[in-house]
Symmetry: C2
Subunit: 353 residues, 2 copies
């Protein structure tokens, strides 16, 4: 068993070509190169731990501890990669290096038989991760027609897998709202429509606002801005001074620092014929109804949508919180990433692999 | 019905003393003052909406819309207070003003019959709230032997109630760990103990670390710091250079910005004979076992503990996320508030009221 000996290079281990059949063709480790079989450090550590190979550095034979220390010095992400590699191989997946960290073959598949299914991006729980990096991963994977999965390794080396994808949230349509110019009063941090007929109409047809009592409808800041822009309402202060749309946008920004970010997404969702309502109880900006029917009490908001700027950096524990929560209330969690005039909807979903 | 007429003052409405029996003694609105019955703006708005009273300002009679606008100008929190007041009264609770916003009588109780049960602190979802303000609320309520409840009013005027309390997490005891000075290597962002006997002992007796494979134990940063301080391990780099406790603390701080904050709580919890393990999967610093038994696979971590500095300011949607998550995994969410040498454990729990 022990006669297969590999030579440690900086970021790989080279095995002699005599073992191509056994190691590469049958068991799908390594890539064939001029010098023999080239293993990644993770592959080499796994084979060493399994006592399938020996590893030398120059003429010195390395035990697992020596090799682990050296590999960690040579590749600062070695440990987390090894943890994920070992986990996947032990559970019967075939894994190869890729443009991201690994590509993973579907269950029952292997190199040469099937295309790989997932591209894996491996992160330590502590890695602060820019949303741009994630969008790039999704775009790379889309180009290669693969699914992209984050593998996050926590302090205890437990792994959580998240699939990332871009969401398509319906087409932008031209909506036509009645230009009622209905009187509405802005009070502190919400707006009240006093007319009971308009109140009922807006609530029933578009699920705008919430009734303060049976006759008066309260609107949130984003609802106020949208209906004001669409001339459905005209707005005044408690002392009857009028407020224009652009004054209101400025005012709302002073009340809620995130307002502009939220409003961009609110308007976009409304234009896609979706119904966004506050997601406060779920810790997100919006819960979003795809098909909304006021009469049907079982109507269920399918999405939780949270607006973030393109410069946003995730702490990876945000994903734990958000995806557990989304799962417990059976909703999809989607980040609306605002970049100039465009919004990318990025869905993050915990998966079992 | 309509002969009860109140006079609007800045932050109250005064009713004539003729109606003390009907309004105050039987229905528990207002407080008796020299001029008659003094109603809060919320009480007055509620009685006006119910058409039990009329309200005049000087000689001008105010309808509900007029009164609502005036009250909003006079008290910037009027709307959210009214929303909560109306909700509680409609659901049969008696409510009086208090040192915080309201005191609430238990179901079936009322002023004069029973003491009030809850002190209510009312916040709009958008209010950024310093943790100190919450601790103050708890201390005030404790002095008065009341329970303290936050009522958070969201954009749609839905109310979520959270009970706040200080948690007692067991006594500080003197623990004695074996001073093994066992060799451990720090690799990138975790530590490995190579000796298999020590690995087993630490894992079984104190639930330290996680096995990398069957023989090597990995420790997290906080575990490394604690065991290093207690001389259970001695630490070295991959190149065998030793690392002292104080060097390690500095180093860990560069790897994880929250490290010192987390470690303070970790050490305190260990000294209270509790077993903290990473809470990453739950979006908190630690999950904490009260009774930990390695043999019992059903062992359940009772608490999620998250360290924050005394200067921390909550966004109130943090509570939605944290408490929904804690509920879905049947754990209590506790904030460890670090202030100089002391830690206050603040528990936040969603309740139905």
């Amino acid at each position: 068993m022990h006669e297969i000996q590999g030579q440690l290079k900086t970021e790989s281990v080279i095995l002699p070509s005599d073992f191509i059949e056994e190691i590469h063709n049958q068991s799908f480790y390594g890539r064939i190169v001029k010098q023999g079989i080239k293993l990644t450090l993770s592959e080499a550590a796994y084979l060493l731990h399994k006592q399938k190979i020996e590893i030398v550095s120059g003429t010195k034979k390395l035990d697992f501890v020596d090799f682990f220390k050296l590999a960690s010095s040579n590749d600062e992400n070695f440990e987390v990669k090894y943890i994920v590699y070992e986990d996947l191989r032990e559970r019967g997946y075939y894994v190869q290096p890729s443009v991201m960290d690994f590509r993973v073959y579907p269950r029952g598949g292997h190199p040469g038989k099937t295309p790989s299914k997932y591209l894996l991006h491996i992160l330590s729980e502590r890695k602060i991760t820019p949303v741009c990096e994630l969008i790039e991963c999704v775009e790379t994977a889309n180009n290669l027609k693969k699914r992209v999965v984050l593998a996050i390794v926590d302090e205890e080396s437990d792994i959580t897998f998240y699939e990332l994808k871009k969401s398509v949230l319906g087409e932008v349509t031209t909506t036509s709202l009645p230009q009622l110019e209905e009187e509405a009063t802005f009070l502190g941090d919400r707006t009240i429509i006093w007319n009971s007929k308009t109140s009922k109409q807006l609530h029933q047809q578009g699920f705008y606002g919430k009734f303060l009592d049976k006759t008066h409808l309260q609107l949130s800041l984003v609802e106020t801005a949208y209906l004001l822009k669409e001339h459905v309402i005209r707005l005044q202060r408690a002392n009857n001074e009028p407020i224009t749309y652009s004054e209101f946008i400025t005012l709302a920004g002073t009340i809620e620092p995130d307002f502009q970010l939220k409003y961009r997404t609110y308007e976009d969702l409304r234009q896609r014929n979706l119904v966004p309502k506050t997601g406060f109880k779920f810790g997100a900006h919006f819960r979003v109804y795809v098909k909304y029917n006021r009469e049907d009490k079982t109507t269920h908001a399918e999405y939780l949508v949270h607006s973030i700027p393109k410069s946003h950096q995730f702490s990876l524990s945000d994903f734990s919180r958000a995806s557990r929560l989304a799962h417990s209330v059976r909703k999809h969690i989607i980040y609306a990433v605002i970049s100039g005039d465009s919004i990318t909807y990025l869905e993050i979903m915990r998966i079992k692999l």
